[in-house]
Symmetry: C2
Subunit: 216 residues, 2 copies
C-alpha cells in the first residue's frame, strides 16, 4: 500500500507518518519510484503501536525509538524487553532534585525494597523516583516513612503476578503494548475509584466519614 493508504487505515496523518519515518520510529517502505514507497501490514501494525505509545503511553520519541529497537532485537528475552520498557517509562521522571533530603530518602526506600525481598536492580530508576516521592511528601509536611508505600507494593505485586502468570508471552509488540496500556488502565482505575469513594463519602455512605466526624 502507499503512504496514503497507510494513513487512511491507521487514522494517522500522512505528515505524521512521514515524521515518524524521518525519526526512524517506522521502518522505511520498499522504494517503488522516486519519492514513492510501498508499505505492508507490518508497517501498519508498527505504526499503530508507535502511535499508542506516544498518545496513550505518553512516551517521548527517544523512548519509543529505544523500545522499538528492543522489539526488533532478535533473541531478547521478555525480561530484557520489559527492562527497556520500564526504563523508557521512567525516562521523564527526575532522578534527583538536587535536594539534601534525597539521600536519606533513598536509603529508606532501599531498606523498604529489601524488606519486600524484591529482585530489583540497584540502579533501577524506580528506586530513585520513589525516593523523590518520599522526600517530596516529607518536604510538603508529611512525617511518613517508606512503609507508606506498603499497600501499593502489595497491590502492585498481586497485579504483576496476575499479568505475568495469566498472559501468554506473545510477540514482543504485544508484551510492550500490554505492559504500557495496563499501566494507563491502573492509573485510570485509581482516579475513578477515588472519584467514587469521595462521592460515597460526601453522601455520608461509608464509615470513613462518620468516624472522622467523631474524631478530634
Amino acid at each position: 500500500m502507499r503512504v496514503s493508504d497507510l494513513s487512511r487505515k491507521s487514522g494517522v496523518s500522512v505528515a505524521t507518518i512521514k515524521f515518524y519515518l524521518r525519526e526512524r520510529l517506522l521502518p522505511t517502505g520498499k522504494p517503488t519510484a522516486r519519492n514513492q514507497a510501498e508499505y505492508d501490514d507490518t508497517h501498519l501494525s508498527r505504526l499503530r503501536l508507535v502511535r499508542t505509545l506516544i498518545t496513550l503511553g505518553q512516551l517521548r520519541l527517544s523512548s519509543v525509538r529505544e523500545v522499538m529497537t528492543a522489539v526488533d532485537t532478535k533473541g531478547l528475552s521478555v525480561q530484557g524487553l520489559c527492562q527497556v520498557v520500564n526504563r523508557a517509562l521512567f525516562a521523564d521522571q527526575p532522578t534527583a532534585t538536587g535536594d539534601d533530603a534525597i539521600e536519606p530518602a533513598r536509603m529508606r526506600v532501599d531498606d523498604f525494597i529489601d524488606s519486600l525481598d524484591w529482585l530489583v536492580a540497584p540502579d533501577s530508576p524506580g528506586r530513585s523516583t520513589l525516593a523523590n516521592v518520599l522526600a517530596a511528601l516529607r518536604r510538603l509536611g508529611s512525617n511518613c516513612d517508606a512503609d507508606i508505600f506498603a499497600p501499593y507494593a502489595a497491590a502492585a505485586e498481586e497485579l504483576a503476578v496476575h499479568e505475568i502468570v495469566s498472559t501468554p508471552d506473545g510477540p514482543p509488540e504485544t508484551v510492550v503494548a500490554t505492559t504500557i496500556l495496563l499501566e494507563v488502565a491502573l492509573v485510570c482505575m485509581r482516579r475513578m475509584a477515588h472519584e467514587h469513594h469521595l462521592a460515597l463519602r460526601s453522601a455520608g455512605v461509608i464509615a470513613g466519614n462518620s468516624t472522622r466526624q467523631g474524631d478530634t
Copy 2:
C-alpha cells in the same frame, strides 16, 4: 525573604521562580522597592508544591494553574478539589483517536463501570481514557473485553478506601500532593513488581514459568 533566599531554600533557580511568577503559578511577593519583593514561608511551600507537581507529577503548567486556583478557593470540598486534580492529571490523555473502534469500546467500558456500581460522572475523563486503552489493546491484536480491567479496579478500590479512610483531610495542599505523589508511587511499584517477578521467572522460581512450559 528575597527571591534569592527563596531560591536557596527551595533549590529552584531564580530564573525558574521568576517564570512561575509570570505564569501565575506563584502569588507575587510584597513589593518593597522597585523590582524587589519580599516573600514568606507561604511562598516557599507553594513553590515546593508547584515544583513537585511539575517534576514528579508531570503536570502541564496550565493544569498546575488550575489545581492552584482550586487550592486557593475557599470552601471547596475535598471532593471538588480532587475532581480538579483528577481532571488535571487526565489533561494529557487523548480523549479520542478519531477511530471507529472507540465508540463500542466506550460502551463496554461504561457497562463495566456500571457493573462495579461506581459513582463516576458520565463525563469523567477516566471513562474515555479507558475506552482508548481497550480499543488500542484490541487494535493491537488482543481479543480482550473490558473485564480485563477487573483486577485493576479491585486493587484501585482497595487503595482508594485505604487512602480516604486512613488519611486525615488536612490542608488542600496536602490533599493535592498526596493524591498525585501516591499515584507516582503506585506506578513505580508496579514497574518494580514486574522487574521482580520477571527476574524470579527467568530464574525459574515461580509456578508461572513451569506452567507455561507445559502449555501448548
